[in-house]
């Protein structure tokens, strides 16, 4: 497996996913949800994983963070973190890794925080679980973190309950929680989808700034291309459980090569140009149990040819990106 | 002129729709998990056996115990057939009046089941109606119904039944009391059982009534009655099967308790509880079979309903899927 060219080509990758496949065991057989996904993440890099619902991006995040639950399971492939294999760890090892080196941020700020504990208690609990601090030191750290994420009068607010904060502030606290143990990788699954537009902008810029500061790599999973364009360095596009395009964000967003990515970008209403009709991709993403032969996108593709229905395209280098299309 | 622009399209017939639904059901996770759980299958089989034996006791019982000429005091107090002194005529023995215990039990089961099924059905209907009304209309109606439910819940079932029974005895003339015994028991069990349904249905109704399909119907002109019974009701019925199954087990036990205490079914229409009561009086003279066998049937019947109800609740719970 060779990596695509990234800003720091000499540094070994922080995360390396090779040939990952995830399937769900059903009484009628196994349903493959992710097929043969490979990519890598450099230290401190922000990678966006974008796709529509059902494309498999959240599952990829779950598989990497070890939160994949039965009946889902990793059926093939390997995941390496700092050179060490992590997809076949025991539950205890995985839990340790998850708290300390890999952190997760989820979509719903309401359910990510325990409603019966104060924010201070939750922060200090997490801090002391992973770092050798006493109660006083932990509280000081927590105060510093609150200030870092921009919550004013942190001293009083530390003793308040989650319901006393707004959605945007809760999400900021969650970012604080995720960063407090200085992880090397943060997996953020739709972190701003549930927030208002004005708050979304604040939270995104905060996330980007803090991650660069703490040198944490981020895997940002979202369906919103605008968010990707905002803060990511590289972006991976998923469709029907496969990775179909991956490359630097400027290239993928401004000059997409895969017909699906092209169609996706063209169908976003633009603020700078007003057209009477949006470009649309006819049809819908196929269900996992009704995948067509060959390229999963070919029934909807304007550039399809005869061999698209028989051959599975591989991710090949094309310019600065890698694209899975037979007709480039 | 065809209803469709394409004459190939046919509306599926009622029969085709029913067949489609049956096929989907048999193939579903529900049936699969049913076969997976051995104890549930066992409980189900036993329930079916008892239901058939009890509801059709007229045909399944070897003797017609209501016919006074069919029994003979000379046959009284005979032990079960496999013991010394027992006769094959009376498979499980006979009682103090010479009646065959097996037949008595089957008739008793019949009464227990009928009382149980009718009370549960009435509770269900009453509770669902009140739950939908309460949840959908809200405000004063909701407050009244729910506070009434709270009040009813705070009264123990047996006490309430004793109360009803006492009042009925006071009001009714002596000769119709025996006839009214069953309706009175059904009434007490119904009045003390509807609250569970009402509360659960109400909660689900409140969830459903804010959904957009209800709003769409309102905008199109749907009136309250139409929305409550055509839109909301079909969508809130899912927990009923669980509640009713569990309630059936409880109702049968309740009736047995009342009959045991002497305020239930009269001795000439004995239910399982009455039998246990009778047998209890002769327990210390050594005739254990009159108590044991009806009790076993009662316990296993109730247990089976509980097992089925619990299994249903697990299977139908979307969060556990």
């Amino acid at each position: 497996m060779h990596q695509d060219t990234s800003p720091a080509p000499s540094a070994p990758p922080l995360l390396s996913v090779e040939g990952l496949s995830v399937e769900f065991m059903h009484r009628k057989g196994a349903l493959k949800a992710i097929h043969d996904v490979s990519f890598s993440l450099a230290p401190g890099e922000i990678l966006g994983v974008v796709g529509e619902s059902g494309a498999g991006k959240s599952l990829t995040g779950s598989a990497i963070s070890g939160l994949l639950e039965a009946p889902g399971r990793i059926s093939a492939g390997q995941i390496f973190f700092n050179g060490r294999r992590i997809d076949n760890l025991s539950e205890a090892d995985r839990r340790q890794l998850r708290g300390r080196k890999i952190s997760c941020i989820f979509q719903d700020p309401l359910t990510s925080l325990n409603p019966v504990l104060t924010i201070g208690e939750q922060l200090t609990e997490t801090l002391r679980a992973h770092l050798p601090l006493n109660a006083q030191q932990a509280r000081q750290r927590a105060l510093a973190l609150m200030a870092e994420v921009g919550i004013s009068s942190a001293e009083q607010r530390l003793d308040q309950y989650p319901h006393q904060f707004s959605g945007g502030m809760r999400q900021r606290i969650i970012i604080a929680l995720a960063l407090c143990v200085e992880p090397e990788l943060i997996i953020a699954d739709e972190p701003t989808t549930a927030l208002d537009v004005s708050v979304q902008a604040q939270v995104l810029s905060l996330l980007k700034r803090l991650c660069k500061q703490h040198r944490a790599a981020v895997m940002l999973i979202t369906h919103d291309m605008g968010v990707i364009a905002e803060i990511c360095d590289r972006v991976a596009v998923m469709y029907a459980g496969r990775l179909i395009e991956i490359g630097p964000v400027q290239q993928v967003v401004m000059q997409p090569q895969h017909p699906y990515t092209r169609g996706l970008m063209a169908s976003i209403p633009s603020l700078t140009e007003r057209r009477p009709r949006l470009a649309q991709i006819d049809g819908a993403m196929p269900r996992l149990n009704q995948l067509p032969d060959g390229c999963a996108f070919h029934p909807r593709c304007v550039k399809r040819t005869a061999h698209c229905s028989t051959q599975q395209p591989a991710l090949d280098v094309s310019g600065l990106s890698r694209v899975a299309c037979l007709n480039l | 002129m065809s209803e469709f622009s394409n004459p190939q399209i046919q509306a599926p017939s009622l029969w085709a729709r029913a067949r489609q639904r049956l096929a989907a059901f048999l193939d579903s996770d529900f049936i699969y998990r049913f076969w997976q759980s051995k104890i549930t299958v066992l409980a189900f089989i036993w329930t079916v056996v008892l239901l058939v034996a009890g509801l059709f006791s007229h045909w399944t019982a070897p003797y017609a115990i209501f016919d006074a000429s069919s029994f003979d005091l000379m046959d009284s107090e005979l032990p079960p057939s496999w013991m010394t002194g027992g006769e094959t005529r009376f498979l499980l023995g006979s009682d103090v009046q010479g009646r065959d215990l097996l037949s008595l039990m089957l008739y008793g089961l019949n009464i227990s089941l009928i009382v149980g099924l009718i009370s549960v059905t009435l509770s269900l209907v009453l509770g669902t109606l009140l739950g939908v009304l309460s949840g959908y209309l809200g405000g004063l109606v909701d407050t009244l119904i729910m506070r009434f439910a709270d009040a009813m819940l705070s009264i123990p079932t047996i006490m309430f039944s004793l109360l009803i029974s006492g009042v009925a005895r006071g009001l009714l003339p002596k000769d119709s009391q025996a006839m009214m015994a069953m309706p009175i028991i059904v009434l007490s069990i119904t009045l003390t059982g509807w609250m569970q349904y009402a509360r659960t249905i109400r909660r689900l109704t409140i969830l459903e009534k804010n959904k957009e399909y209800v709003l769409a119907s309102k905008i199109s002109g749907g009136r309250n009655l139409h929305i409550m019974f055509r839109h909301i009701l079909p969508n809130v019925l899912s927990p009923i099967s669980v509640l009713a199954t569990l309630h059936l087990g409880l109702a049968i036990l309740t009736e047995a308790t009342l009959s045991f205490l002497g305020v239930g079914m009269p001795p000439d229409q004995p239910s399982l509880g009455t039998l246990i009561n009778e047998g209890n009086q002769y327990l210390f003279s050594g005739q254990w079979w009159v108590v044991l066998f009806p009790a076993l049937v009662l316990v296993t019947l109730s247990l089976s309903f509980n097992i089925l109800g619990d299994w249903l609740r697990d299977v139908l719970n979307p969060k556990l899927r």
């Binding site: 708050v199 902008a201 604040q202 291309m225 007003r274 009709r277 949006l278 006819d282 | 769409a216 905008i219």
Partner: protein, 361 residues
């Protein structure tokens, strides 16, 4: 017997001329308040101070026939409440709503007057126990235009064709369809009684981007072919910029800016509008172009005094804290509510600089 002749697709007359200035829906000084004190007897006994949620605090606007009028704003601004009031689901606490000259109150049947609505959540807007044919036929039955579902079949079939679905789909259940298809079914249900005014409450917010494009295109086609008037609610500025003719920006129950779509996006007058436009992640912009905005959306239970936006406004002054702002006209069609209308800076990006003409082929 073979009906081979292709009959004219229903509902597709020749495209109509551009929107006339005939006012279809007029809203005057609308206030909607909700009592959110403890319900029932406990409220009585606690003798609580009455807690009133002022969802809509005095708005006025007109929707003209054939146009798409959008209300945009964030959560808690009251746009959904306005939509429901226009659908006849709420009675105004103050002010009035007139549809085609006749007043609209909370108990009138909107559908009988040619008003219909489509909703945000495709999974909750169709009764999961009903077949599609019954769902689409329901408005016709409730309006007494047909006797039962069977008799409505030709119209249901036509409605399904109109939204790009197959006629045989009417015998299936909602769970057999995807989110985008369900929205189409909702549109079919809304159009079956041939309304002239369609309220769209965030119809594409729950859909993927490519599905959204399909649905928005469908709605645009239907508007051209059927002469519909759309009242569109959204929190997504890009969608609003794409499909609206006129836009109103709402904040905490008031319309802070209202005008034609090009003017709103090219020369936003109100600081909040500028903030919203700024906050949209723009594809192709250099990172770092944007200035993050301060503060969170306040709760509608306790709106700030004076101008509701003053806690977050970069132009806020003492006057803004004390007095509600007056209406300032920036042009004939475009007005804002602000104490400092002159202090408008040029926006960072040139938005809507290119508008493709040629909506009528």
């Amino acid at each position: 017997m073979n009906t081979a002749k292709q009959h004219e697709p229903e509902g597709l007359p020749t495209p109509i001329v551009p929107a006339s200035r005939h006012a279809l829906m007029e809203v005057q000084d609308l206030h909607i308040r909700f009592d959110v004190a403890s319900p029932g007897l406990s409220g009585l006994f606690k003798r609580q101070k009455k807690a009133v949620l002022q969802a809509v605090r005095g708005i006025s606007f007109t929707v003209y026939q054939g146009e798409t009028f959008s209300l945009v704003g964030e959560s808690g601004c009251g746009k959904s409440t306005v939509a429901r009031a226009l659908a006849g689901l709420y009675t105004p606490s103050e002010g009035s709503i007139h549809h085609a000259g006749r007043p609209l109150t909370g108990d009138s049947t909107a559908s009988g007057r040619g008003i219909q609505m489509i909703f945000q959540d495709p999974y909750a807007s169709l009764n999961p126990r009903w077949r599609i044919e019954r769902i689409i036929a329901e408005p016709l039955i409730l309006q007494n235009r047909v006797g039962n579902t069977r008799q409505a079949r030709p119209q249901v079939a036509a409605a399904l064709r109109q939204v790009g679905l197959g006629e045989a789909d009417m015998f299936r259940f909602p769970h057999e369809f995807s989110g985008g298809q369900r929205q189409r079914i909702s549109i079919a249900r809304a159009l079956v009684t041939q309304p002239d005014f369609l309220i769209c409450d965030e119809p594409t917010s729950a859909l993927d981007v490519s599905v959204q494009a399909q649905v928005l295109n469908l709605m645009s086609d239907l508007q051209d072919n059927l002469g519909l008037t759309y009242f569109f609610i959204s929190h997504n500025m890009s969608v609003v910029a794409h499909c609206s003719d006129r836009v109103g920006v709402m904040y905490l129950g008031r319309i802070v800016e209202l005008g034609p779509v090009e003017e709103i996006f090219r020369h936003p007058g109100h600081p909040y509008t500028r903030m919203l436009i700024d906050a949209i992640p723009k594809i192709g912009a250099q990172p770092g172009d944007r200035q993050p905005i301060s503060g969170d959306v306040p709760s509608p239970l306790s709106p700030p005094a004076g101008c509701a936006f003053h806690p977050r406004c970069p132009l806020a002054s003492e006057l803004c804290r004390l007095e509600a702002p007056p209406v300032s006209r920036l042009s004939e069609q475009h007005h804002i509510e602000c104490h400092h209308p002159a202090a408008v800076a040029r926006p960072h990006l040139q938005v809507l600089t290119a508008i493709h003409q040629g909506e009528d082929q």
